[in-house]
Symmetry: C2
Subunit: 157 residues, 2 copies
């Protein structure tokens, strides 16, 4: 039962089309019988039908045609790709240890040696030693240069 209903719904356009065609034929025949219009009216009928059904075809096509989709790629610049990826190659290449990198990060956050020492639970002298090693490996002379270089090499964000 639902199959029949489904069939009706799915072929609604076709059915309507057939009904419309029948009605039109009936109308034409009725006109012919009633008024016996001009002789050779055949061509007029055909023309009218052609125009009507062409219009119907156009309407059907426009109604049923699937819209063509166009993909437009829109570039969106993110504020800053927060996804920092550490340059491990350079890290290994420069032979910088975990602890040294840790100190380097805190240094770049603006912490003083004493603050870094407190944070890592070690002495100030230890941090100074780490710094000296870092500067040597990064081939710089000051912490500000170390930060600049490390950022450039993606060792720190």
């Amino acid at each position: 039962m639902p199959n029949a209903v489904n069939f009706l719904v799915k072929n609604k356009s076709t059915i309507l089309y057939g009904v419309f065609l029948a009605a039109l034929l009936f109308l034409l025949k009725w006109l012919e019988l009633r008024f016996i219009i001009i002789n050779h009216a055949f061509e007029i009928y055909v023309g009218a039908i052609a125009v009507l059904f062409t219009a119907l075809g156009i309407w059907l096509a426009l109604k049923l045609s699937k819209p063509k989709t166009i993909l437009i790629e829109k570039e969106i610049f993110t504020e800053k790709p927060s996804t920092f990826v550490l340059n491990e190659k350079e890290l290994n290449n420069l032979n910088i240890s975990k602890r040294e990198l840790e100190v380097l990060q805190l240094m770049s956050e603006g912490l003083s040696n004493q603050e870094i020492a407190t944070k890592l639970f070690v002495s100030l002298n230890t941090i100074k030693t780490h710094n000296a090693r870092l500067f040597e490996k990064l081939e710089v002379k000051r912490r500000t240069q170390a930060i600049e270089t490390a950022k450039r090499l993606s060792l720190i964000p």
Copy 2:
């Protein structure tokens, strides 16, 4: 002259359509005269014409209709454009002068106070004064913090 050509080109479809209609009528008439087919063949003619011109209408509509477009914006995340734009609002807000910004930039490049002084043809003490003002305005205590804050506020690249 080009107007006539232009007219032909522009109404190509319409003209073809008319020619096709005429040819079809001629064909039907010829068939009628030649074979005098089944009586009441009128309905068959009309049906055939209807089907043909519906198809023609559909073809025309699909051919000529502008495509219905659905815009789908696809976000493409790209690297942050390397074009640095200075945050002038914040600069004015913090009341940082041109010279101070200049010192700040050189500071972020890892230069020492002495190097900055030499580069700007002023004395070391002058740079120290600028620094003190900068730290006050940026509400920081060290140059490394100043650099970190200034970068975060887009005062320097």
